[in-house]
Each structure stands twice: as structure tokens, then as C-alpha cells.
């Protein structure tokens, strides 16, 4: 059945390699069977893009079926329905929840061509050798296991990866500089009475609690041992501060979906709020000034990766490895980086970006020409720089990773009370 096992690697090594490599840069020479393969991928909306599926079909020959869900549904599906997917595109904190169920299989890093080029955050945990590891569910801490079948995470690189990192970014507060009219430098400004009735926070507990923690710490009210893993007392204290603020009318609204955050900001209902990077872009593309404000305390960061279902085997498994290698090969990276995200192997993405784009998005340089996203929208004009600066400025200032806590269920109930308060 599986001729594919011999297809690419074997043939490339053999005499046909020269002929194949000279005509095609992308991995090619597939057995006919590969065309019949369909891999089912599901995940959150950010990286489940139809463009990626179309390009996979073009470059690799097999079909990729994408399903986009919200992160709660993604968690549930990964945990409870392992046969309903082949590839799970999930965030690292979801991995922490889901991995112990044994529904995903570890990946052999020796089969990952660009493994050595993956940024340090996902391997040793350090962006540069001097970096300090941020609080929360840092990707490297749930990125490795001791071997196939292991359900406990390993503390260092082992050669068996849980998720192959695909996309990540550093989040902060979004502001309307025209309506605020003064510099904003701290997370504590979210609860500044100056913005009474004009602030907002997202109504997604696992992320919202982190933003809350950044604010409380910045106010000097609470010192957390680990914002990503709070004690019950810390959770209570955090909600006490925010419930008080809510009762005093600090918040205009809470948002749950991306569009809501865009509308709140664009209509001027809200001038400062937790926000995601593409939402800032969406507000700006309407000609309304909006800044993804870097703050002294640092960023709240998140990262996603793709994991393989345990039921994947044989030719499908080989196809999945091909897909992963292709993913890290640069095209997707460039596609994502031109929307403001980062790719796990930036140096390969560089090949798929213009010098201007690379300078603006990665190096934090002034744009020498208009910056457009892959869909053709103009995001910045010549002379503008990216909010927060270069990759190392932004990812080097991460204070905390999205996380799932030991006291998660308690936190969730408290969150529900906060919304109802």
C-alpha cells in the first residue's frame, strides 16, 4: 500500500534527485496515491486559512480540510473526539490540558528538516541565551515528552515534540491615541478612573484573567508568584479589584469575538481595551487611529502549534510530516508574518517576504514603501514603524504566556460570577 514511504526521501537520495530538484523547489515526486489523501485539520480561526489549504494542494498534492472553531470547542474536541481529526492546530495552553488524555502522538524531531532553526522560545524556552523565561504556560514547558506514548511533559529538549510551533505573537492593550491624547505606558491604565465607561476587557476567561493579572500587578495591588498559575487567594483578590471596577462603571462592555472588539474601538465606545493584533489592523484600515501600545510591564504572549492525532499512521502520517516540513519551509511563515504574526522559523519566511516587509514586520524598521497584508489591504504607509518595534524587542519583553491553571475550575466559576456581578 504505502509506496509513499519510498517516494520522496528515497528517490531524492537516489539518482532522480537531481532531475526533481532542478525542476521543482517544493518537495515533489509523489506516488499517485498521495492525491487521495485528505488530512482533517481543525483549530482556532487564526491559522486555519483557506489560502493555506489551497497552497498545500498545489505544493504537496493532498487535500487539507480545515475546520475553524473557538478555543473552548477546540479543547473539547481534541480531548474527547480523537478520531474526528488528523491534525490539531491548538495553542500551547490547550496542549497542556489535552496531552494527558493521550489523544495526540509525539513527533520525531529528526524527521523535521528545519528543527534546528526553530526559535529558542519553543526549544530551550529562551529567545536569546540571556533571556529570562516568562511566567505562564511557556511553550517549551509543554513542548516535549520523553518518547512516544509518554503522557508527562519533559523539562528539556528530548527529540519528541508535542506540537510543532506554527504561529505566535505578543499581545498588549489597544488604545485610541486621538481620544486619549496622552502617552499610555502601563497596564494599570485600564482601570484608571479617567477612562470610566470607556474601557473594555475580553470575556474569555483563560485569557482575560491574564490581562487582569497584568493590570493588578501593574497597579501594585498584587504580587503574583506565577500569573499563569494563581492560588485561590490570588484569584479572589484579582476578581475583587475588577468586580469593584465593574460596579463603578469602569467598563463599557466586554467582548467575546474579534469583530466586537473592532466595533467597540472603531465606534469610540471604548478608548482602551485588551485587543488582538489583527483587530488593531482592522480598526486602522477604516482610517481610524489605533495603537497596539507597548507597555512597561511587558506583553502577554500566546503561541499555537500543530499536533498529530494518535490515530494517524502509515501513509497519512508520512503526509502529515510532509505537511509539517512544508509549514516550516517559509511560505506559510511569510503569509502569517505579513499579517503581523510571527513564524516559528523566521529565517525561512524571509525568502517569501520583500526586504521592506521583512524590515517592517521583523526588524522594526521604518517602512520604505506601503505595507500591505496578503489580502491587499494597506496596513502602513512609508515611514511608519511597527508598534512595539522589532521581533526581539517584542518577543523579548514577554511577561507572561497564556496559561491554564491548576485552579482553573475555581477560576472559571469566579469568572462567571464576575460577568454576572
Amino acid at each position: 500500500m504505502s509506496k509513499m514511504r519510498y517516494s520522496r526521501r528515497a528517490i531524492l537520495k537516489g539518482g532522480a534527485a537531481a532531475a526533481a530538484a532542478s525542476t521543482l523547489s517544493a518537495p515533489m515526486i509523489w506516488a499517485q496515491e498521495i492525491k487521495d489523501i485528505t488530512l482533517r485539520q481543525f483549530g482556532t480561526g487564526v491559522s486555519n486559512l483557506n489560502e493555506v489549504a489551497a497552497k498545500v494542494k498545489e505544493d504537496l498534492g493532498f487535500s487539507l480540510e480545515m475546520t475553524a472553531l473557538d478555543s473552548d470547542s477546540v479543547t473539547q474536541r481534541a480531548a474527547t473526539q480523537p478520531d474526528s481529526f488528523d491534525i490539531a492546530d491548538i495553542e500551547y495552553w490547550i496542549c497542556k490540558k489535552v496531552w494527558p488524555t493521550g489523544n495526540l502522538q509525539a513527533m520525531d524531531t529528526s524527521k523535521i528538516k528545519n528543527y534546528d532553526k526553530i526559535v529558542g522560545i519553543f526549544r530551550s524556552g529562551k529567545l536569546t541565551p540571556e533571556s529570562e523565561i516568562a511566567q505562564g504556560t511557556a511553550p517549551h514547558s509543554v513542548g516535549f515528552v520523553d518518547g512516544p506514548g509518554a503522557t508527562k511533559f519533559a523539562s528539556e529538549e528530548t527529540g519528541w515534540m508535542t506540537l510543532i510551533p506554527t504561529i505566535y505573537n505578543a499581545d498588549t492593550l489597544g488604545i485610541r491615541p486621538d481620544l486619549i491624547g496622552r502617552p499610555i505606558n502601563n497596564w494599570s491604565e485600564l482601570l484608571n478612573p479617567e477612562f470610566k465607561g470607556k474601557a473594555s476587557i475580553l470575556d474569555i476567561s483563560s485569557i482575560g484573567i491574564m490581562d487582569m493579572a497584568m493590570v493588578c500587578e501593574s497597579m501594585g495591588e498584587i504580587q503574583y508568584a506565577d500569573k499563569g498559575n494563581m492560588t485561590k487567594e490570588e484569584i479572589d483578590a484579582t476578581f475583587a479589584i475588577f468586580t469593584e471596577a465593574k460596579k463603578n462603571g469602569q467598563f463599557r462592555a466586554f467582548w467575546k469575538s474579534f469583530d466586537e472588539s473592532v466595533n467597540l474601538m472603531a465606534s469610540g465606545e471604548v478608548v482602551i481595551q485588551s485587543m488582538w493584533s489583527p483587530a488593531i489592523t482592522a480598526v486602522k484600515s477604516r482610517g481610524i487611529p489605533c495603537v497596539y501600545q507597548p507597555l512597561e510591564e511587558g506583553y502577554r504572549s500566546w503561541g499555537g502549534g500543530i499536533g498529530l492525532s494518535k490515530s494517524l499512521s502509515g501513509m497519512e502520517l508520512d503526509a502529515a510530516y510532509e505537511y509539517i516540513n512544508w509549514y516550516l519551509d517559509g511560505w506559510v511563515g511569510g503569509f502569517l508574518m505579513r499579517q503581523g504574526y510571527y513564524s516559528a522559523v523566521p529565517e525561512t519566511s524571509k525568502n517569501y517576504m520583500s526586504e521592506n516587509e521583512w524590515g517592517y514586520w521583523f526588524e522594526g524598521k521604518e517602512a520604505s514603501d506601503e505595507i500591505t497584508n496578503p489580502f491587499g489591504d494597506v496596513l502602513a504607509k512609508a515611514g511608519e514603524t511597527r508598534d512595539g518595534g522589532s521581533f526581539y524587542d517584542r518577543m523579548g519583553a514577554v511577561a507572561c504566556w497564556n496559561a491554564v491553571m491548576d485552579e482553573n475550575q475555581y477560576m472559571v466559576r469566579k469568572w462567571n460570577e464576575f460577568i454576572a456581578a
Binding site: 473552548d72 463599557r252 462592555a253 466586554f254 467582548w255 467575546k256 466595533n263 482553573n408 462567571n416 460577568i419
Partner: protein, 282 residues
Amino acid sequence: MPRSLIAWLQVTPLSLILMGFLVAPIIMIVIVSFWGATEFSIYPAFQFDNYEFLFGSPVTYKVFLATFKYALITWAFTLVIGFTVAYFLAFHIRSQPIQIALFLLCTIPFWTSNIIRMISWIPFLGRNGIANQTLISWGVIDAPLDWLLYSDFSVILAFVHLYTLFMVVPIFNTMMRIDKSLLEAARDGGASGFQTLRHVIIPLTKPGIMIGTIFVVTLVMGDFITVRFMSGSQKANVGRLISNDIALLQYPSAAATAVVLLCTVLIVIAILMRFVNIRKEL
């Protein structure tokens, strides 16, 4: 074939449908409400944790109170508006074609989705919305009114807007069945317009009012999306409590809340039924 067998056969299709799509799911919800949950799964058990937490939290009582508040205020407004509209249609419009045309006019907004009708209020009521801009340009107010949107006001406004028709239709329906000679008799007997309304029309319209009331009260008490959008997630009712639980994969806890809500609504309806025997009067 014996008559009783025929009767049984006749009732079978509806019974099966109701068993499969109403009774069975409710039984399932009741069963799950006693189960336990971890972060990403639920496991069969027989424990009272979910109910304990529900009744032990002051938030639950506040939220139930808020739900009743929404239901009561919405009911009052929809009743007054609905009754007035139905009265106008039934007794003031003499020609039947115009009556039907105007009645259809009332239903036109219902050709669009609930959510769209609700969301269209948001740009209208917003801080820089049409309402505030108009009021400012007329000089009525100096600064935008913040309470127009994301407040109890906007929630109830949307409810009244969405559900008034559910009051109009049944009231109009019962009013049309009132024998016009009764009104003439009342007038001949010397009753004033108001006395006719109070002693003849309202008593005869009671079944319609009651059906409309049941519609509005159950719709408002079970709603979660209107409260979420119109209050900008700032306010809560029981429906939102349930939807939050579901979003966080706490199905047993959601089921327990649903059971309590179901009982509450049934009690409310039972009380309403004490006032009017709908079956007798229909």
C-alpha cells in the same frame, strides 16, 4: 377495529415525536445535572455538587432576580403596547382588507432575523450614535447619554421591540372573536367606552392576554443572546449563566441551572394558569 385502538393509533405519531424530542432530552438534562465535570470531560455520577454550588452562590439569586425583573418589565410594556395595537386593529379599523393589511404590516419586521433587528439598535444608541447626535444637535443634552446603550435600558428596549408581536397576535385573535353585538348591548345598557373596555372587552380577551404573556415571559426568561449583545456582556440573566457554563465545558453545571430555570418557568406558568382556564375559553 375497536375504537380505543384507533384512538391510540391516532395519538401515537405526536406522542412519539414529543417523547423523542421533548421528554427524552429533558430527562437527559436532569440526569446530567447530577454528573460531575473535569476541565474537559464529564463523568457519570450522582452528586449534588452542581446544585449545592448553584444555591450556595449569592450570584445565582441576583441573576434570577434580574431575570424576573427583565421578564416583568418587558411583560408590562409589551402588554400595554400589544393590547393597544390589537384594540386599534380589531375595533377601530372597520374594513377587513385594511385590517389584514395592517396586521401583515406588523409582521414585516419579523421577516428579518432576530439578531439583526437587535444589533441594529447598537449603532443607533451608541455614544456617537444617531440618537445621541440628534439630541445634541437639538440642544436637549450637552454630552452623550451613556446609559442608552449597554445598560438595562437597552436590554429591555430590545426585548420589547422583539417580543411585542407575540402579544399582539393572540390578543388580536381573541378580540376578533368577540361578538360585536355584545359591545352594542353594553352601549345600549348605558356603559361608557371605558366601562365597556373594563367589563366586556378585557374579560373576554383574557385568554389572548394569557397566551401572549406566556410567550413573552418564557421567551424573556430563556433568552441569553439579547442580554449579551445589548448589555455588552455587562449584565446577566439565567440564560447567560447557562451559556457561559456551556462555553467553559461545564455541562453538568449548565444542566443543573437549566433544570432550576425550567422549574421556575413552569411554576410561573402554573400560577398564570390559575387566573385563566385557557382550554375552557379558547
